[in-house]
Amino acid sequence: MEEKEFSFRMSEEQRTMKETVARLVKDVVAENAHDMDEKKAIPPAFIQKVWELGATVSVVPEEYGGYGMEHSPIMNTIILEELAYGDMALAIAATLPSLFMYPILDGGTDDQKKKYLPPYCGASYKPCTVAINEPRFKFDPVSMETKAEKRGGTYVLNGKKCFVPMAKDSAHLLIAAATGGTNDLFIIAKENPGLKIGDREKNLGAYALDTYPVILENCEVPAGDRLGGDQGCNYGTFLQKTRVALSAIGTGVSRASFEYARDYARERVQFGEPIAFRQSIAFMIAEMAYEVDAMRLMTWKAASALEAGRDAKREAYLAKLYAGEMTMKITDYGVQILGGHGYIRDHPVERYYRNGRGIAILEGMTIV
């Protein structure tokens, strides 16, 4: 295979996709993000519009109901950044089926692919979700307290999950649990009697995204529904892909805050001149500008490693760590530059600040 050129330039295809998503966000979301946040709901029509871009289904092989196109982590970071620039809740909700389907595509058995992919490849968006986070101090996705124990031909799962997006409307969940020495993902139907979905959570950010706690009490899962069957799955790679995706979302949220604060500072007049004429404000804006770029480049770098089929453990970890820290810093600057006005919910920087806090904390909410 010919070596790829080292390049910071988007291909025609990447640029077109970026512009398409940006246009969709501008037409559909921009005016409504505030409302969605206040009403704590995303109109299904918006999610359907994103679904119709076909990004998720396109990479599923034809035999499982998709179009068999190349799966590109870099392209997915581009899409996620643009969506999150419009609204973080929408970005997570609209791409949620990918989070369930990509791990099955990557590491599922033939039976799992046949059974679980086609129902989600339709023309209409159907939620299916993933449960990683746990409601406890010192949660760590690589040392989970949700356990799976093998008893004969079944696994018995016990534990608590939280921040499970759209769990109430999802027919299937992919749930992470520790199995002896390894970490695994289990495909579980909502009707499973050992699985209980609690009341909708109230969180600091992403008001419009409905998330739920999921309780597993002696939840019996057939061994055939352990992702990857007897071999299990590559949980590490799964984690890498979700970390890169969260970095892309952090980049989008941060860029939104940066651009809003930049435009505000140019127009807001105090002491007879725009506040951006002052270095104390202008330098904050300069810092926001290059940190948003740095975040994106680190996301692209990790995605490049994934795209090359290389282990991206280090790159993905550093990208998420950086995006987590910088999103907090940048969205904080966004509020600060607007001052009292930034604290009022009428301006979106307030929402960006709340949403942005999640990048460092969350795991496994979205995928490339």
Binding site: F6, Q14, V142, Q279, F283, I285, M298, Y322
Partner: protein, 399 residues
Amino acid sequence: MINLEMTQKMIEIKNGMNGVAQSMLRPISRHYDDNEHQYPKELDVFRSMKIMSRPKKKKKDGEEQNPDKPGAKKPGSNLAMTITIEEMCWGDLGLLLSLPNAGLGNAAIIAVATDEQMEQFGNKWASMAITEPGAGSDSGSITTTAKLDGNEWVLNGEKIFVTCAERCDIAVIWATVDKSAGKAGIKSFIVEKGRPGFKLDKLEHKLGIRSNDTGTYVLDDCRIPKENILGSPEVKQSTEGFKGVMKTFDNTRPLVASMSLGVTRAALDFTREKIEESGIKLDYEKNPNNVSSLEKEFYLMEANLEAMRLLTWRSAWMMDNGEFNNLEASMAKAKSGRQGTLICQKCCDLLGPLGLSCDHLAEKWMRDVKITDIFEGTGQIQHLIVARNILEFSSKQLK
């Protein structure tokens, strides 16, 4: 198509240059820090190498020559240079600045010299003298004068902070030919060592990069031939000429950012070595709040180094691709100069007594890296440039 995986060729350059840094610079690094200004004779071997040269004119006909195996992707020259500089500065920043015939003055000559001037000065080691006691960041306000007297320019003034002031053969001196014309009147001149009226006044004692001979020139009715002016002697109404000179900084800022990358990585590599020696394994997987503060600090520094490098490589890559990179070059330098300084400080902190002792190089790297947030435009100047670009403000609006 976006791809930030290093190519085979880039890895080869990196490994090759790291070998040079490891074998030639590291072993003499402490010695020339202790013996400030002493000429590093070990670097004489670089004299015969053409580190800086004019790019050869591209052949118009025929296929591009490619000695490598087919499909190998060569990085552009600026990107290759940033990789080279990072590796060399991983060895020693002060010594990199002391490489013969590779000064800023050489860059200026290569950029604008006529063929005759190239013939005469192309093989000389050229320092660059811009800064004056009263003109630092505001290089448009220099007061050194050049007056034409018959067939000679007569130069008067004082230049400070000149890199390689003593060991260079010639100096590129910035002076104004017409103070009333402001920036439009500023020109650069080649002054050979030994010209009457041209004196190296003193060498500075510095915080870091001590192996380099930073010095002061005094020009007292120094006469040079009329042909020693670089570029056109004509004073145009516009400040295009000055802007052109400023534009060369868009080319050199990514290189200064790379210097910070190299020193910073040296500090991080040493710190990692000590962390691992102590039995801690950096696994890049655990929740960063479930590891020790030392590990989390280290991860954050590593992430920042990666951010510095990608911003720097982007600005160099843009140059290679003929894109205007004024904004990105300043972003790279703003981030790398400041963050490199902070990381090298933090490494000393994490290293504890090893970070304070001159038995190790960490303390030296902390001193050396600081220059990258200062020379070729301080971090604050870089922020100004970035902010003006982003906000679309003029220098009058955002002072």
